[in-house]
């Protein structure tokens, strides 16, 4: 549905997007993750044909965005970072303009405006000037604009920014339901959101692709389990003596939590990066340390993200 091949955007000496390639299948929701300035918006602007690429190609539904822009753009609904609304227009008037701009057949225009207003719950605001709307409502009108003409592909640049928690939940539900009929690329720097909504995740940093996979796979293959959390009745000194008897422990530390009276929580990491929970269990039994809890420390997408994108930034 969407094919991006070797996309490059060069500003003078600076490469904002560096050789980015990926595909999005029909009906898929792709989460586009990256720290600020990673090139997310630049990439989206190139996919929608707003900006030109220095090198590379984007194909939407079989149409090259640069060779057949009008056909390709007809398949796309785009919600940029800042909703592209005219402050001096009324909501209904603005959406009607969008139906004309997107060449919705004349007889369907009225119904189309009503449809998107219903979908985004802005019907009761239809006669308000957009400049009088709150940020949340502007965002809704912006998304309504992207949905005009029911395009197959939706490109949404941080659609939940500036919304309150209630609206965020509602917006996510809406995006998920839209995902049944539309192919969606959604950028965000909120990992929880991507995890909850998207089928696959593309992480980019410094304009380069870091990884593209399902959220679960990313956590499994890249994050994996690196350690084990245990709750025992041994103090720090005693625990150190006991754990020292296992040869392959790379490091351990006390966790800042209070598991209960006389209990202590520790994180243990192994040199072979495996869990080794069986070894721990037998060790504690042999050393008469009572084990109250033991579980693998699961990495979240958040940890993976920070690990993958933060390394270089941490040094600067």
């Amino acid at each position: 549905m969407i094919t991006v091949e070797n996309l490059v955007k060069q500003y003078g000496d600076f490469r904002a997007v560096d050789d980015l390639s990926f595909t999005v299948e029909k009906g898929e929701i792709l989460g586009f993750l990256g720290p600020n300035g990673a090139g997310k918006s630049t990439t989206m602007n190139m996919i929608t044909g707003y900006n030109s690429a220095t090198e590379g190609n984007v194909t939407i539904n079989g149409f090259n965005v640069y060779d057949e822009p009008e056909k390709a753009k007809r398949c796309i609904g785009y919600l940029p970072e800042i909703p592209p609304v005219y402050p001096d227009m009324r909501v209904k008037e603005y959406l009607k303009f969008c139906t004309e701009l997107k060449e919705v057949p004349k007889k369907d225009r009225k119904a189309e405006v009503e449809r998107v207003m219903e979908l985004l719950h802005v019907k009761h605001m239809e006669n308000k000037l957009i400049k009088h709307l709150s940020k949340g409502y502007r965002q809704r009108v912006g998304l309504a604009q992207a949905l005009v003409g029911n395009p197959e592909v939706l490109i949404l640049d941080e659609p939940t920014v500036g919304l309150d928690p209630m609206q965020i939940t509602w917006m996510r539900e809406l995006i998920r339901s839209l995902g049944r009929e539309h192919t969606i690329i959604l950028s965000s720097h909120i990992l929880f959101e991507v995890n909850a909504v998207c089928d696959r995740v593309l992480i980019i940093n410094h304009g380069k692709k870091v990884v593209i996979d399902t959220p679960d796979n990313i956590i499994r293959t890249l994050g994996g389990t690196t350690g084990v959390r245990v709750v025992v009745d041994a103090g720090e000194e005693a625990f150190g003596n006991v754990i020292g008897k296992l040869g392959n422990v790379s490091q351990w530390n006390a966790l800042e939590e209070n598991p209960g009276e006389g209990l202590h929580a520790y994180a243990v990491y192994f040199a072979d990066d495996k869990e080794n929970r069986d070894h721990l269990f037998r060790l504690f039994a042999a050393q008469s340390v009572t084990l109250y809890e033991m579980n693998a420390i699961q990495k979240t997408l958040e940890d993976v993200f920070i690990e993958m994108t933060g390394k270089e930034d941490a040094t600067c």
Partner: protein, 288 residues
């Protein structure tokens, strides 16, 4: 294209700007008609029209400054340039809207000679050929204003630039008279101009090879021409600046000379600046 056209027209007529533009234009021309024709007793309406052209200085930027700068500022250009409408059609739509607002005012101005007819004999041919030239002159300035609005996201900057450019075209005839006529000085000034063009080329294209090629071609061409035939440069400055004199072409109309070459000149400039506007926006897609 129709969608953009309708949107722009609505923007002018739901805010005050469209009405203000038309009102000011009609007031200015009305005042001049009163002074020249009614009080002054001249039967030639073209004099009143001619005096009004100075006010394009204020009126044109008022209308054109927002036309593209505002879209960029509000980021609504992301909507229109990702819609299935091509850049060309967007610009045509916007330019047509500008012209339509102006045409409303000119349409009303067309009634003035009829009013004047009540007070004496009016030469309609002179009056209407001048009004036609007035319309094209305004359209030329609008095309320039639209182009300058495409270069920036600040409406104020676009307005100031437009003001300066129109002022320059109005003053050019005065400047030409002050220019030296000697051929060595003319060469020196033309060389400076060639250098400025090369600098502008570099600023616009950021390409060293094209810049150097332009500079070598222009400066080399001038020098070769000078050493072959220095007399060619006598009065050359006046000729070069004469090409740029948009307003001087308007002069002849008031004396009853229907100057068709002026119509062609204005239409060529309109085509040029609409084209340049489209190119400026296409170029921005590469840079932004």
């Amino acid at each position: 294209m129709l969608a953009i056209y309708k949107k722009e027209l609505r923007a002018y007529f739901t805010s005050l700007i469209g009405y203000l533009f038309i009102a000011f234009l009609l007031v200015f021309i009305g005042v001049f008609q009163y002074m020249v024709n009614l009080r002054g007793g001249y039967a030639n309406f073209a004099y009143a029209v001619h005096d009004t052209t100075t006010f394009f200085l204020l009126l044109v930027p008022m209308l054109t400054m927002r036309i593209l700068a505002e879209e960029k500022k509000q980021r609504t250009d992301q909507l229109i340039f990702t819609s299935p409408v091509s850049i060309e059609r967007i610009i045509f739509g916007k330019y047509l809207a500008l012209i339509t607002v102006f045409a409303v005012a000119v349409g009303i101005i067309c009634l003035y000679p009829l009013v004047l007819h009540n007070y004496g004999a009016v030469n309609y041919a002179v009056a209407y050929s001048t009004i036609g030239a007035f319309f094209l002159l305004g359209c030329t300035y609008m095309a320039i204003g639209m182009f300058l609005s495409a270069l920036t996201e600040s409406q104020v900057f676009a307005a100031v630039l437009t003001f300066m450019v129109i002022l320059f075209t109005l003053m050019i005839d005065m400047l030409v008279e002050m220019l030296p006529t000697g051929h060595l000085l003319a060469l020196a000034i033309l060389l400076v101009l060639a250098f400025i063009i090369a600098v502008i080329t570099y600023v616009m294209m950021k390409n060293k090879i094209v810049t150097i090629a332009t500079a070598v071609l222009l400066i080399g061409g001038l020098l070769i021409a000078y050493f072959k035939n220095a007399e060619m440069f006598d009065g050359s400055l006046a000729r070069v600046f004469g090409w740029l004199s948009i307003s001087s072409r308007f002069q002849l109309f008031q004396y009853g000379i229907c100057n068709f070459s002026a119509y062609v000149y204005y239409i060529s400039l309109i085509v040029l600046f609409v084209f340049l506007t489209i190119q400026a926006l296409k170029k921005r897609r590469w840079e932004a």
